[in-house]
Symmetry: C2
Subunit: 310 residues, 2 copies
């Protein structure tokens, strides 16, 4: 595939569709939304408004890092603090579908919807990729970002039209486009990170405290596997607890699962054979997080497991 | 330590204490209770009645295998079917302490208590070992078998006196005694298996169906690690579920944790570095169990984890 031609076509297409109106997009910092941001900015310049919505579910320092990274590329990104909205919507929910729906709904109907109305933007650029569409259609997982495929008309419901310039690509294609666009390699090669963010890494209720626990574990796992070449790696906080001993006393502690996978396009995945020395070290670091006394490694390929837990 | 002398002392001690009265013991098939059964039988002959209580929580075919093994040593063992009693007592319980207490209480107060009354036995031989006592005293875990240390007077409460001939030994010492007694090596070297049996391998509620799931996983793990030389290995069924894909459809499936540890005496433990080929095979076999779509390997040493989960 000629990715240079693809980039030119998409830029021209966005420009033609949007005309002299304005567009908005939400940047998460992942490769998909980063590529869309750059494509949109090249097509529309400052008629594209890009926001980063802090949903309380991001990784350590992530909102600031993403804003700075795009500032370096002369693309202004507005940081929107919506932490209380998302945590409020997630309170008390434990079912994976309900949790994903709470994040989707808070994002589209509340936080982003208000921004769109305020800015008067008529177009939303979105980083949907082919795998998202396929999995949603197959009913495997409700993605947060494929409104049309779910029978939702965003123009009617939210007042804007969704453009999905990456809808024909898989993850590997998006990375190629990122390179063609000259995005920094830390963006082009960034591991996938889901829209509902750390909410997909928490089995059971999402609370501020539980996000803090999985955020600490995520920082360790990303530091350990950052140069491993794995397709994706993550830490997951389970709701189950297990008995343990700390300072000679019984402790009923939390469990973190570490998952690191090889994959080309997220359709299939196999677990990485991590060296044992590293696994032992990761376990020591993870069980130093207050309240955590077990660390498990996920051996399951996709299928039969999905990559995420929620 | 002179284990031959130890055996002679214990046999003489049991004989002297019991005198011309009768004793009873419950055999689980583990090395501790097996050694106590043989010691007691040598001391008392047919004045020791040995029962195997089927609590619905045993492994595949275990009750029959244990009875046959002791029949081969000319020690009669009565098989008592108490499955409904235990499953009834466990229904609805999810707290680890409550589950252990339900098993203890059903065992001592109901099933075994009735047997003792029926037989008129005044002495109970029990396979308590030093590690059980230490951990119960330290409050790390309530063991099922250390009544006196918990301030329970069994003579007053249940009408019998408990003899614990192995209370000064750890697991390695018990195995030496098993060899001195000429027990088959499959008993002497048998991996530890807890009194509350598969109930300690189920996080959340213990039901007939959930026992069947963890029993199937246990059979796979024991077959895979049977000749590994590991101190202990097990399969644990979590209560949490995770998303997966089966035959192209979404599935919210069950999670099995595989744990295999090196240890000398169960006081400390380190995870076994299982070859990756074997881990992948175990994962494939485990995720073939109906309803199971994740297989995790426990990386945690003891401390900070305990060996069991419940």
């Amino acid at each position: 595939m000629d990715y240079k031609a693809f980039v030119e076509e998409q830029i021209a297409g966005i420009r033609e569709t949007v005309g002299d109106q304005t567009a908005i997009n939400a940047l998460s910092g992942g490769v998909d939304s980063s590529v869309v941001t750059v494509l949109g900015h090249r097509a529309l310049g400052d008629r594209l408004k890009t926001v980063f919505i802090d949903n309380a579910l991001m990784r350590e320092g992530e909102p600031q890092q993403v804003v700075e990274l795009f500032a370096d590329m002369c693309i202004p990104v507005e940081l929107v603090d919506a932490r209380a909205d998302f945590l409020g919507a997630l309170a008390g929910l434990t079912d994976p579908e309900q949790k994903r729906n709470a994040v989707t709904s808070t994002f589209y109907r509340k936080v982003f919807g208000e921004l769109v109305r305020k800015t008067g933007a008529r177009f939303l650029l979105h980083g949907t990729i082919l795998t998202d569409i396929e999995e949603s259609v197959a009913g495997i997982k409700r993605q947060h970002n494929i409104l049309a495929q779910l029978g939702i008309d965003p123009e009617k419901e939210y007042g804007y039209r969704v453009l999905e310039p990456l809808a024909t690509l898989r993850k590997d294609g998006v990375r190629e486009v990122a390179r063609v666009l000259g995005l920094p390699c830390k963006v082009a090669e960034r591991i996938p990170f889901p829209g509902p963010a750390l909410a997909t890494r928490i089995v059971g209720e999402v609370t501020d405290e539980r996000v803090a626990t999985v955020r600490a574990a995520t920082a360790i796992v990303e530091e350990e596997f950052g140069s491993s070449g794995a397709f994706q790696y993550m830490a997951v906080l389970l709701e189950d607890r297990a008995t343990g001993i700390r300072d000679g006393r019984r402790e009923f502690g939390q469990i973190i699962v570490v998952r690191s996978i090889h994959s080309v396009d997220a359709r299939e995945a196999t677990p990485v054979e991590v060296p044992w020395d590293q696994l032992h070290r990761i376990c020591r670091r993870i069980t130093d997080i207050p309240g955590v006394n077990r660390c498990l490694y996920d051996l399951t390929p996709k299928p039969p497991a999905t990559i995420e837990y929620v």
